[in-house]
């Protein structure tokens, strides 16, 4: 019964979405206030209905209703409850349902929180959002119904894959989708503005919180995926430039560019066409990602298995949306020029350069990901484009980005004094060079890129802190003074500092864990000792352990450094009898300096079990997660800025001080 209610709610939501996609936008053209207003109600109703559908599916998983095909394929009675719940979005159909839920949620959020938006803009935005919803919900109702029944119902489910029973993996899709789909509302705003024929500073102000929110979620989602890969998969790596990883990274790159471009449009009323284009392209890349993951177009460890027929449907939806919006852009954008002038050396120019690096980065990733397809189509040859290409093409670009990011915040709007800025930054340059030399000395013969990257990160870190300390006059007056300034200055400025600094921290982590990783693999018997990166490890023994649904062999490794005990690592090899599979559980000892990482393998030789240990030392890898934390914190801080909550910029009675430098 409940699944039927869910199915009904979903279908009803489709009709509501169809209504919402027509009436408000027509109302906006006819200036009919009631028709425009109706979008608020329909957006909330849609969210409710899709929420009911989502709840119905989740309910089916929670109670274990094996008459529902989706539950049979993705659950099992022995699965822990939390993973039964997570299985709701673990399949193609379920994850699509999550997709449209978030789509509807963002629509409802605009309906509720967008009281300060002009009625016509809001109505058009919600209509565009509804168009996207109609496409996806109709796709579900027609081809990917999560509520399909299976008769006769089997006694139990089929899926007990232990690899999927992990909290990191359970949270990764929701966060990622909040990011991907969050950009849908920014896209809707952009298309609505193009239809209105007006993109201005006010529009950019309204769009900013939504862009920030989506960006925060996407950052967290990608990082969670990388972290999961790191601790679960056992090869000590966190990024492989796999097509599905790339497809989440591209919207992140353009989304970051969008965030910055919107700031320029908001502050200076210029860059409108870039901002709108970026808004359209970011979501287009999200859609492309959804398409690639579900269509079987490219091989990847990650992809859902879906047949090409569905793939063509998704391609059609994606195609219409993207071609349509980009055509609208081509038609309307040239009418949007104008806005503030700025000098070649200015914050605007700096941000333009910043966006150049980010956009070229996204283009490089796109070309690398799709090139095998292009080549195969044209010449029927198959090649692989893997990490070597991406590393050699993308890393130099990011170095350039780090340099520009360090200078940019120091530049003032409209016209800046480069010489003055550069002389202020001398100290930071000196420190960066020092860091580079230091690293070169410590890791003799280290790869050049790694050293440059560390220099770039140190440069960025110091210039960011320098800019912040200038802004709050940390060395200029009393501490109380500076504290007062911190409190009174807009949070978005502090958010920027935190986020930029976070990126510098991330880069240090990226470089340390890839360039200076140490590892070795060895046979191990009880009593053997090993040495890695200054640590001494001794295999005390291998014991048998029983878990809730598995048995395991657990190695006990005593870790010492300089004769002093540090920790005991217990990597395991688990055997899940019901699922019939094995997993490796790595044991990780994390410190600021790096992670000690151990995995155990059991190899049968000549009838006896032999143990193999793989020991990896990853320097500075913790900096990655710390940096991401700072990035997300910076974003959240910016999001909490009062100005974003107050809404439409009002003419202030107080004169604006000319020397204020805010982000």
């Amino acid at each position: 019964m409940i699944p039927e209610i869910g199915h009904f709610a979903l279908t009803l939501a489709l009709f509501v979405a169809v209504f919402q996609s027509i009436v408000p936008i027509v109302g906006a053209s006819l200036r009919n206030a009631r028709w425009m207003q109706i979008a608020d109600a329909t957006a909330k109703i849609q969210f409710l209905l899709i929420g009911v559908a989502f709840g119905a599916l989740m309910w089916s998983f929670v109670v274990g209703d094996y008459s529902v095909l989706n539950v049979v394929e993705n659950s099992h009675s022995l699965k822990p409850m939390i993973y039964k719940i997570a299985a709701t979005w673990g399949s193609h159909e379920g994850s699509l349902l999550l997709w449209v839920l978030i789509l509807a949620a963002f629509g409802a959020a605009v309906a509720i929180r967008g009281a300060n938006l002009p009625a016509s803009l809001k109505a058009r935005t919600l209509s565009v959002q509804a168009w996207i919803t109609v496409a996806f919900v109709s796709f579900m109702v027609l081809t990917s119904n999560p509520f399909e029944r299976l008769t006769p119902a089997p006694l139990d489910g089929q899926d007990l894959n232990p690899l999927l029973q992990d909290i990191g993996l359970a949270l990764h899709p929701p966060l990622l989708y909040l990011g991907y789909v969050g950009f849908s509302i920014v896209f809707s705003f952009a298309v609505a503005a193009l239809l209105e024929g007006r993109v201005d500073a006010a529009w950019a102000r309204w769009v900013r919180p939504w862009t920030l929110a989506a960006w925060i979620f996407l950052t967290a989602g990608i990082a969670l995926g990388a972290w999961w890969a790191y601790y679960e998969l056992g090869w000590g790596g966190w990024w492989f430039w796999d097509p599905v990883e790339n497809v989440s990274f591209m919207p992140w790159l353009l989304g970051t560019a969008l965030l910055h471009s919107a700031i320029v449009t908001e502050k200076r009323g210029t860059f409108q066409s870039w901002t709108v284009l970026l808004a359209i392209l970011t979501f287009s890349l999200s859609l492309m990602g959804t398409f690639i993951v579900r269509s079987g177009l490219l091989t990847s460890v990650h992809a859902f298995a879906v047949d090409p027929e569905r793939g063509i449907y998704i391609l059609a939806m994606f195609g219409v949306t993207v071609i349509g919006s980009l055509s609208l852009f081509a038609w309307r954008a040239p009418q949007m020029e104008g806005g503030g002038l700025f000098a070649p050396i200015s914050r605007e120019a700096g941000l333009l350069l910043n966006n150049l690096f980010l956009s070229v980065g996204a283009a490089v990733v796109l070309i690398g990901t799709l090139y095998p397809l292009f080549l195969e189509a044209i010449t029927d040859e198959k090649i692989s484009v893997g990490p070597p290409f991406f590393n050699s093409s993308f890393v130099p670009l990011s170095l350039g980005l780090l340099v520009v990011m360090g200078i940019g915040p120091h530049l003032s709007w409209k016209r800046a004094d480069l010489r003055g800025v550069m002389s202020r930054l001398r100290a930071a340059s000196f420190l960066a060079v020092l860091a580079g030399l230091g690293v070169w000395y410590m890791q003799t013969g280290g790869p050049v890129m790694a050293i440059l990257a560390i220099m770039g990160a140190v440069w960025l870190g110091f210039t960011t802190l320098l800019e912040w300390s200038r802004r709050i006059r940390l060395f200029d007056g009393s501490l109380a003074d500076s504290w007062r300034r911190i409190r009174s200055q807009p949070r978005a400025g502090h958010g920027m500092t935190l986020a930029h600094f976070g990126l510098a921290v991330c880069v240090i982590g990226f470089v340390g864990s890839s360039a200076w990783k140490e590892e070795f693999v060895t046979f191990a018997e009880t009593g053997d000792t090993f040495e890695i990166a200054g640590f001494d490890l001794e295999l005390r023994g291998v014991t048998n352990v029983t878990g809730p649904n598995y048995t395991a062999q657990r190695a006990i490794l005593q870790v010492r450094k300089n004769e002093k005990p540090v920790t005991v690592l217990t990597p395991e090899r688990r055997f899940y009898d019901v699922a019939g599979t094995q997993t490796t559980e790595a044991a990780i000892n994390s410190t600021i300096a790096g992670d000690l990482y151990a995995t155990l393998s059991v190899v049968e030789r000549d009838g006896a079990n032999e143990w193999t240990l793989r020991l990896i030392y990853e320097p500075l890898v913790g900096f990655i997660w710390a940096g991401v934390f700072l990035l997300v914190s910076g974003g959240l801080l910016s999001l909490s800025d009062r100005r974003l909550r107050v809404g439409a910029p009002k003419r202030s009675a107080k004169p604006v001080t000319a020397r204020k430098v805010s982000a």
Partner: protein
């Protein structure tokens, strides 16, 4: 100028879309790798037969010295699709003017003999590739795989997977016919 540039994104998107559409249509298998050995000579190798079985081993000279088309099938007893395609191999063996040779991939002697005894042996010659090294020379990635070699000793066709797949057997027959004609 601006107007022309503004159309650039749409044009690029249309181009990408065309490629993606191409990628979805047709019988394209994204994970299938074309053989690197097409049109090249058979790699040199020499294998003895399966232990405990009468019957000659297989070496590259056996293939190149045959003046008629040769079908080489890589198989193993532990491979389910090999079982599926077996009757089709017997059909091929029955075609006049075609020799069918087998390479037994990473199979222990006893299960291999038992499998052939149970299913029947369509192969004139079998080479036992115990460590899989010879199969690597053929660029083999899994079992079963089937190659067609023409009278000049050049590899002209390869099929990965079972011959029982729809259309696979017809394509093999066409390839054999083409190889025989040259």
């Amino acid at each position: 100028m601006i107007r022309a540039l503004a159309f650039l994104p749409v044009v690029v998107a249309l181009g990408l879309g065309a490629f993606m559409l191409w990628g979805l249509t047709g019988d394209r298998d994204p994970s299938e790798i074309p053989s690197a050995l097409m049109g090249q000579a058979v790699p040199a190798f020499e294998l003895v037969g399966i232990e405990g079985m009468d019957g000659p081993g297989l070496s590259s000279s056996d293939i190149t010295s045959a003046s008629q088309p040769v079908v080489v099938n890589i198989f193993a007893s532990w491979c389910a699709p090999c079982r599926q395609e077996h009757p089709l191999l017997e059909t091929v063996a029955a075609i006049p003017g075609v020799s069918v040779f087998g390479i037994n991939y990473r199979n222990e002697a006893f299960p291999a003999r038992r499998w052939l005894g149970e299913m029947g042996n369509p192969f004139e010659r079998i080479g036992a590739d115990l460590d899989g090294r010879v199969s690597i020379e053929w660029g083999v990635t899994g079992v079963p795989e089937t190659f067609v070699i023409n009278g000049d000793g050049l590899i002209v066709y390869r099929h990965t997977g079972s011959l029982a797949e729809p259309g696979a057997f017809d394509m093999l027959k066409d390839a054999i016919a083409a190889a025989g004609a040259t």
